[in-house]
């Protein structure tokens, strides 16, 4: 089987996870104009909670649920307690706030759960599927990863496009003042937006943990690649985030496969700079005339 085909299959799975991370970042960016640099650390923390549950004898699926529910709660708490008070502060302050949260969570996790590196069990076999006589480098767990990311994205699409709640959330992000006048509880919508985004991030964490090992900074690279994907897509576009995340997945597995895995982050840097030089606000962004 050709190397290219193998790498492409790996790229899809990796890309799905980066796309989830990118989508989480874009959801928060669109709702509150904040880049949540703590997104990766929050997902790391919820993954630790999941492994904590599993180590205490619960089945995998309970751990999986623990991660998603705690992600939902953590997102809501962070928005309510930390981000809400600085709503009108300069953008730099809010960024620094999320960086502080990142440092805090990455220090708290080893304090609470112990500093040793752990492995995370996968839900399904990670041995490649059989197609006739040949083995495809695509395992049931890869299928599960891809399937759950696609399912979550479809659910979000239905929520935002087809439901009343989704419409209210979009309206709050688009114009908080007018939405408030129309009787929308904008504050609640923002909290919900953060909670949902954090849930998507938590999903990315549980899905990638089996292929990486679990340690406090294990999500740093995923955050960087997801963020790179989101920036590539243009931070305002959910479709752009998913496409950007997938592109990152492919690009990084090709770079890793052909040039060595040490160069993946360098590849990300080169791609990001190259794209931003041509389009300083991403591939899918609407070009805006700069105000003078």
């Amino acid at each position: 089987m050709s190397r290219f085909f193998v790498l492409t299959l790996n790229g899809v799975t990796q890309g799905a996870i980066y796309a989830a991370m990118a989508l989480a970042l874009v959801m928060i960016w669109r709702a509150t104009k904040v880049i949540n640099f703590a997104q990766g650390a929050m997902a790391m923390f919820t993954t630790y909670l999941a492994v904590f549950a599993i180590e205490h004898g619960t089945p995998y699926w309970v751990g999986f649920l623990v991660a998603l529910v705690s992600g939902l709660l953590l997102g809501a708490i962070v928005e309510r307690v930390i981000v809400r008070p600085v709503e009108s502060a300069p953008a730099l302050n809010v960024v620094i706030l999320t960086l502080g949260l990142l440092l805090f969570l990455e220090a708290l996790a080893p304090m609470a759960f112990g500093g040793q590196i752990r492995s995370f069990p996968p839900a399904f076999s990670i041995v490649g599927l059989r197609l006739g006589t040949s083995q495809v480098p695509f395992s049931p767990f890869d299928l599960f990863t891809l399937g759950s990311v696609v399912a979550v994205m479809l659910l979000l699409l239905v929520l935002f496009q087809k439901t009343d709640l989704g419409l209210r959330m979009r309206a709050s992000a688009f114009n908080p003042e007018v939405s408030r006048l129309l009787g929308i509880r904008v504050g609640r919508m923002l909290t919900l937006g953060w909670a949902l985004a954090s849930l998507v991030g938590a999903l990315a964490g549980v899905l990638i943990a089996p292929s990486l090992l679990l340690y406090p900074t294990f999500m740093d690279d995923v955050l960087v690649f997801g963020f790179t994907g989101a920036v590539l897509g243009g931070l305002d576009s959910a479709v752009g985030a998913v496409v950007g995340g997938l592109l990152m997945g492919f690009a990084l597995t090709y770079v890793g496969g052909y040039f060595g895995s040490d160069l993946e982050t360098v590849g990300a840097l080169v791609i990001l700079i190259a794209v931003l030089m041509v389009r300083p606000s991403g591939l899918f962004s609407v070009q805006r005339v700069r105000q003078v």
Partner: protein, 362 residues
């Protein structure tokens, strides 16, 4: 008559002279201090000086020019590796040559990256510098034959010159080098910020369109800020190489970049003095917590991570309640004192404090 008066004024109270006097004072105090304390404290003060250089550079870029860099740890790595490559195989280059080479190499890379950065705004710039922070250490891991891989490069220490005596402690010699570098950096930066470039930095930060209308070349100003800032990071990186004795990728993680941001936020965004306050916090908080942890016999997983947890908390709390940092608080106290007990420069009303802007920048 008025013109003569103002020219006289400029001769008697030149800004450069004032900065120089201040620097001389600082040098004398630090020299006296370093000879009174033991090698261990010299070693810690060296770290303060190193972080102060890097934090001052970052504060110029982020606090005064409004460009957030999450990649200054990586720029320090470039300086550190430049120094380590020069000092590999026991080459005995003089310290000044090594430091200048590090400034130069990081500055050149800063030009390239500064041009890219000047096109990017807000989150896009943060994203690009974040990627820089994680990518640079990977390069060092990848090219083992040049950069020594994970185990890094060892750095030959700079031995004190003979005229200081045979038993002069090397820690104190390194402390002197770091103090000298920090003082020179501070004087140069203070002058830059007092002059036209400093005003341009702030103008671009506050309103790009207005700055452009006032005839400031926005892109060039941003590149200049990035280059100066990168050069400071390079100098700090080279000093760090001497200080740790080994340059390895593990020393330049994302956490280093975030700690520098912590330093300028705690110290005070946009002020050189703030960079020094922040560096003191960066060096002495871990010492305090490790002392506390050993007294309370905390497990190592808690003790090792306590400083980072505290930085994280401080960052969050500072942004919520004191976004101007230590220097901002000091300014408020000073401004309150001036307003309360008269002697207000600029004829402000006695007893009235403008809490929103207690004192001008720098």
């Amino acid at each position: 008559m008025v013109a003569v008066q103002s020219r006289l004024d400029r001769l008697v109270r030149p800004t450069f002279g004032r900065h120089l006097l201040f620097a001389l004072g600082a040098a004398v105090v630090l020299l006296l201090l370093s000879s009174q304390i033991g090698a261990y404290d010299d070693y810690n003060l060296t770290a303060v000086a190193i972080f102060a250089v890097a934090a001052a550079g970052l504060n110029l870029l982020t606090g005064l020019n409004g460009q957030l860099s999450l990649g200054h740890g990586a720029l320090m790595a470039i300086g550190a590796y430049t120094a380590s490559l020069l000092l590999k195989d026991h080459h005995q280059f003089p310290v000044i040559v090594v430091l200048l080479a590090a400034v130069l190499s990081t500055g050149v890379i800063g030009i390239g990256f500064g041009y890219a950065a000047a096109r990017l705004r807000g989150p896009y710039l943060a994203g690009a510098t974040l990627t820089l922070a994680v990518a640079i250490p990977q390069v060092a891991t990848r090219y083992k034959s040049i950069f020594g891989g994970e185990s890094g490069l060892t750095v030959a220490p700079s031995s004190p010159p003979d005229w200081l005596g045979a038993d002069f402690p090397p820690e104190r010699w390194l402390a002197w080098i770091a103090f000298a570098a920090a003082i020179v950096t501070m004087v140069l930066l203070a002058n830059l910020l007092r002059g036209a470039p400093g005003r341009a930095f702030k103008a671009v930060r506050d309103n790009e369109a207005a700055a452009a209308l006032a005839g400031i070349n926005v892109a060039r100003t941003q590149v200049l800020a990035f280059v100066v800032s990168a050069a400071c990071a390079g100098l700090a990186g080279a000093l760090l190489a001497y200080w740790t004795g080994v340059t390895a990728p593990a020393g330049f993680t994302l956490a280093l970049s975030l700690q520098l941001i912590t330093a300028i936020v705690i110290g005070g965004l946009g002020s050189l003095a703030g960079a020094v306050w922040g560096s003191l916090v960066l060096v002495f908080v871990p010492l305090l917590t490790s002392g506390m942890a050993s007294r309370l016999s905390l497990p190592s997983s808690v003790a090792d991570n306590l400083p980072l947890a505290i930085y994280g908390c401080i960052l969050v709390i500072a942004m919520l309640v004191a976004p101007h940092g230590i220097q901002g608080a000091l300014r408020r106290i000073l401004a309150y004192g001036r307003a309360r007990w008269g002697n207000t420069p600029g004829g402000g009303q006695k007893g009235v404090v403008d809490w929103d802007d207690p004192a001008p920048d720098t």
